[in-house]
């Protein structure tokens, strides 16, 4: 079944309205919660009066951070660094707030309507402090300190180097530099976050339903915060979660508060984030400013690249995964002997940042791929040829880039074929004809541009993921994964893998996900990691299960297990259809048993197998995009007339679903390239808190796309799989920016800021026409 475009098992319930998302779970009489959130980006809480709110009919209680002293432990960062200047992130900070939307009190009432009425009755006195709402403001001399006890707003400063970048740059025949800014944008799953919890007094079990991508992470965090054993807490990510894209892989204060109150009140409590809260308080990403310098020779060989970038960490460090991924994504598909990659992660008075589909890679790709285009322009080289001259070749894997990836291992590309990717997308888009056409159109005054961008994506990250098989009493196979899906089709994909692993038809295999009570250990869905981790685990556990079942059937059929095979729901002697036993019979003997009766000799009871797969290091997916655009110089509108995605994620389990991942990721990339920007004013007030002010791409903004696939299986896992969830997004902003700048080349207009709103394009054209020229570009070392 691996490799087949199997239709999804999940679809029927989703199409008929019978799926059960978190807010659909039957919890009769559940109380509903609403959070009071800071209206200021930086303030001290002087006093809070909740008495009027608490007295409102229908209100069960109101709690501030002072009232929940048991929850006073800070939430630790997910990924840290020895030099991180960490600051405590509290579930409900009692003393001070550091971004607009930070929760400071919670109301529990009979309905959300009443809970929100009560929020209006809470009186808070604040001492408002100055705030910073950009990395530039955070790093300015005399900048207000986001956290008063720190010496600066720099959370961490990390440099990675390969070779001798300073010397190589100094000696390079040509050097170019530029500053690129990528603005904040969000994940925007259509289902917001949500948590519901119920405490069972009889068993002492706290059951938590959470829209999380990582139920085991949530369970472990709750056990840590509440000082309970992990066995006392069951976290369930519902089978239907309405999108994740990164922000739901993080842990938030609301997730600590709601189950705590359910336990305190001994009554179910539910909180469903509304979209305004999602804009204010759900983590975002993307905000980075890169100062890049590239050195190259007369033939367009890149000799060195130096990238110093500011990363907007937000008010707290929820984790350093994003900027550390950016650090090592810089060289991409190119052989660059000398690399300098330097990070300043900055605290700002905005909602914390964390992974959003792409996770620090789109920004690194902008830095690198935009400079490759500038190099090509400088030398009068075709941008495709400039790339061709620098690609890591197909026979150079494993390829060590000289940096360290975020998983702690040396940045080592496991497999790939970058020249093939480039050649295939150029062929599909008709690159030479497109260039000819561009010339003709330019002569007629039409601004057409062609842009390329490639990437390498570290994915399939460890530490491990598990898969558990059980032969059920009814003779079907239950595959249990710790990982939780948010639309990826796990119930289908993992049944395909299990089917091949066991040699059993898919119709006898069922997949369950995301419940900590059914599998003890797990990491979750993030970093395009599951097919490459839970996939091999499923393959291994399935192979073991096949052996176990055939061994029992061998005893029952008095046959050698190697002579047995699955036919439908039976185990049969290969050449003798009359000698067979059903899977239900096997379960009856080996799992159900008969009380007190000795098993037939040779039957090993308990047909259950579990495998945890731990990759030795990350796998690397790759891809190359080409965009062809027309730019309207009057309105700044960008029309994408052709777009081709070349994608290599190794072994594809279900091509239908992988294409879906890539196309969906591409739509997100369109948003990042052209539409989506989370604006904050200089006082840290968010200015885009509805979809009227923050444009998500609709069906008319996302153009048709053509896909070409290259398959370079990963040698790091037995499935050969790599990640597919983010490749559609990662290079799209860079490819489109390259195309737009190419379209504007007759004017010399410079594109240095993403997303590319029409206003920015018109402004770039005006600047170029008024002779200001490429103001940000510096050309060095022309001798």
């Amino acid at each position: 079944m691996i490799g087949s475009p199997v239709l999804r098992r999940e679809d029927r319930r989703l199409l008929t309205g019978s799926a059960v998302y978190l807010d659909d779970i039957e919890l009769p009489g559940a109380y509903e919660a609403a959070f009071l959130r800071s209206p200021h980006a930086s303030a001290r809480i002087l006093s809070m009066d909740t008495s009027a709110a608490a007295a409102l009919p229908g209100v069960l209680g109101v709690w501030s951070g002072h009232d929940l002293a048991q929850l006073a432990k800070p939430i630790p960062p997910k990924v840290t660094h020895p030099e991180l200047q960490d600051v405590p992130r509290y579930s409900l900070p009692p003393e001070s707030v550091h971004f607009v939307g930070e929760p400071i009190a919670v109301v529990v009432a009979v309905s959300r309507y009443v809970a929100e009425d009560a929020l209006d009755l809470i009186e808070v006195d604040y001492e408002v402090r100055p705030a910073v709402s950009s990395t530039a403001a955070a790093l300015a001399p005399d900048a207000p300190l986001v956290h008063e006890h720190l010496e600066s707003n720099v959370a961490v400063h990390i440099t990675q180097r390969a070779g001798h970048p300073d010397q190589a740059l100094a000696e390079a025949p040509h050097r170019l530099s530029e500053t690129f800014t990528v603005h904040r944008g969000g994940g925007h799953s259509m289902e917001t976050r949500g948590v519901a919890a119920r405490y069972d007094v009889g068993t002492g079990q706290l059951t938590v339903w959470d829209t999380t991508q990582s139920p085991h992470y949530v369970r472990n965090m709750l056990a840590f915060l509440y000082e309970l054993s992990e066995d006392e807490i069951r976290v369930i990510a519902p089978a239907d979660v309405g999108g994740g894209f990164g922000p739901k892989a993080q842990f938030y204060g609301e997730e600590a508060v709601i189950p705590f109150l359910a336990r305190l009140l001994q009554h179910p409590v539910k909180w469903i984030e509304d979209r305004r809260e999602n804009f204010l308080a759900t983590m975002m990403e993307r905000g980075q400013t890169h100062r890049v310098e590239i050195g190259f020779d007369d033939d367009g060989h890149i000799l060195a690249v130096k990238d110093v970038f500011e990363h907007d960490q937000g008010a707290y460090c929820a984790g350093l995964q994003v900027p550390t991924i950016t650090l090592s994504t810089l060289p991409g598909q190119y052989k660059i002997p000398n690399i300098h990659s330097e990070l300043y992660a900055c605290y700002t008075n905005m909602v914390p940042t964390s992974s959003v589909r792409g996770a620090g890679r789109p920004q690194a790709v902008v830095a690198m791929e935009r400079m490759v285009d500038r190099m090509a322009e400088h030398l009068g080289l075709d941008p495709a040829e400039a790339r061709r001259r620098n690609l890591v070749q197909a026979d150079e894997f494993p390829y060590r880039a000289g940096l360290t990836f975020r998983d702690g291992s040396p940045l080592t590309y496991d497999s790939g074929n970058f020249p093939e990717l480039l050649a295939r997308v150029l062929e599909r888009v008709g690159y030479d004809e497109q260039r000819e056409q561009q010339k003709e159109l330019r002569a007629r005054g039409v601004l057409r541009g062609i842009g390329l961008a490639g990437y390498v994506e570290g994915c399939g990250l460890g530490p491990y993921e598990g898969s558990r098989f059980r032969l059920k009493n009814d003779g079907t196979i239950l595959v249990t994964l710790a990982a939780a899906p948010q639309g990826q089709g796990y119930e289908t994909v993992y049944a395909q893998i299990a089917s091949d692993a066991m040699g059993l038809d898919m119709e006898h295999i069922w997949v369950r996900t995301g419940d900590t009570s059914t599998i003890p250990f797990g990491q979750g869905t993030f970093a395009s990691r599951n097919t490459a981790t839970a996939g091999p685990a499923t393959l291994q556990a399935g192979q073991l299960m096949r052996e176990r079942i055939l061994s029992v059937a061998g005893v029952l059929l008095k046959a050698d297990p190697s002579d047995l095979t699955f036919v439908g729901n039976r185990v049969q002697v290969k050449d003798d259809p009359d000698r067979s036993v059903t899977l239900k019979d096997v379960a009856q003997v080996a799992n159900v048993g008969r009380h007190g009766i000795t098993l037939p000799p040779g039957v090993v009871p308990g047909l259950e197998t579990t495998s945890y797969f731990a990759p030795e290091r990350a796998a690397y997916a790759s891809g190359t995009h080409v965009a062809v655009v027309d730019v309207d110089p009057e309105t700044g509108a960008v029309d994408i007339v052709a777009y081709v995605i070349g994608h290599d994620c190794g072994t594809v389990v279900n091509p239908l679903l992988v294409d879906g991942q890539v196309l969906g990721g591409f739509a997100h990339g369109i948003g990042n390239a052209l539409l989506e920007q989370s604006f904050y004013d200089s006082s840290g007030q968010p200015q885009s808190t509805s979809y009227l002010d923050y444009s998500l791409p609709s069906a008319v903004e996302v153009p048709p796309v053509e896909l070409v696939h290259v398959h370079s299986p990963s040698p790091l896992n037995p499935l050969g799989a790599k990640g597919a969830g983010e490749g559609g997004t990662i290079p799209a902003p860079a490819a489109i920016a390259n195309a737009v700048e190419d379209a504007l080349r007759p004017f010399g207009a410079r594109i240095t800021e993403l997303p590319l709103s029409p206003a920015k394009i018109v402004a770039a054209l005006s600047a170029a026409r008024s002779g200001a020229g490429p103001s940000d570009t510096t050309i060095h070392g022309e001798v």
């Binding site: 239709l7 319930r13 659909d24 259509m190 239907d240 309405g242 509304d274």
Partner: protein, 173 residues
């Protein structure tokens, strides 16, 4: 609950109204708070949870239902506004025996569904559009879909699905 039933003390004494409406062919007589939205009425009171709330400000379209045949945002309507009117939700599309509509079938076949949260709204918007007339070109299909937001699929499967059932040319884009 009858209108003269005493409300629990814990509830806010708001204005309470009688509502008579037909939802998916079933007639309901219900008592609702005047401020209850149509979406919350359908989801909370009738437990028709196939209608989803994505933004609660009328942009994402996940909550789209049909009121007297017109596609509306149920997050922007009050429950009392459907008094005397007829509402169709996603639960009404498939036959009682479980047979899916051609549009639902096409959504699955064309992989137009991932997380599924927006799907109900897209199905209702597209159902209303297809009742008005054929959808035969990719441009038309994209226009029909553009009132709703999907974050997962990139829309290609939905465009294809709509063309396959909208009497459009096979093969789509």
């Amino acid at each position: 609950m009858l209108p003269d039933t005493p409300r629990p003390e814990s509830l806010q004494p708001g204005e309470v109204l009688w509502l008579t409406t037909t939802v998916n062919g079933t007639r309901y007589e219900e008592v609702v708070d005047s401020r209850l939205t149509l979406a919350d009425f359908l989801r909370g009171q009738l437990r028709l949870t196939g209608t989803h709330l994505g933004c609660e400000h009328g942009v994402c379209g996940a909550c789209t239902v049909l009121v007297d045949g017109d596609a509306v945002r149920s997050c922007l309507m009050l429950a009392v506004q459907v008094d005397g009117r007829s509402v169709e939700t996603v639960e009404s599309l498939a036959e009682p025996d479980g047979e899916l509509t051609p549009l639902q079938e096409a959504f699955s076949r064309c992989h137009a569904v991932q997380c599924g949260f927006c799907t109900s709204g897209f199905l209702m918007s597209a159902t209303a559009a297809l009742r008005e007339g054929p959808v035969t070109t990719p441009g038309q299909a994209r226009e029909v879909l553009s009132g709703n937001i999907c974050r997962c699929t990139g829309y290609a499967g939905m465009v294809q699905a709509l063309l396959e059932v909208g009497e459009g040319a096979p093969g789509g884009e």
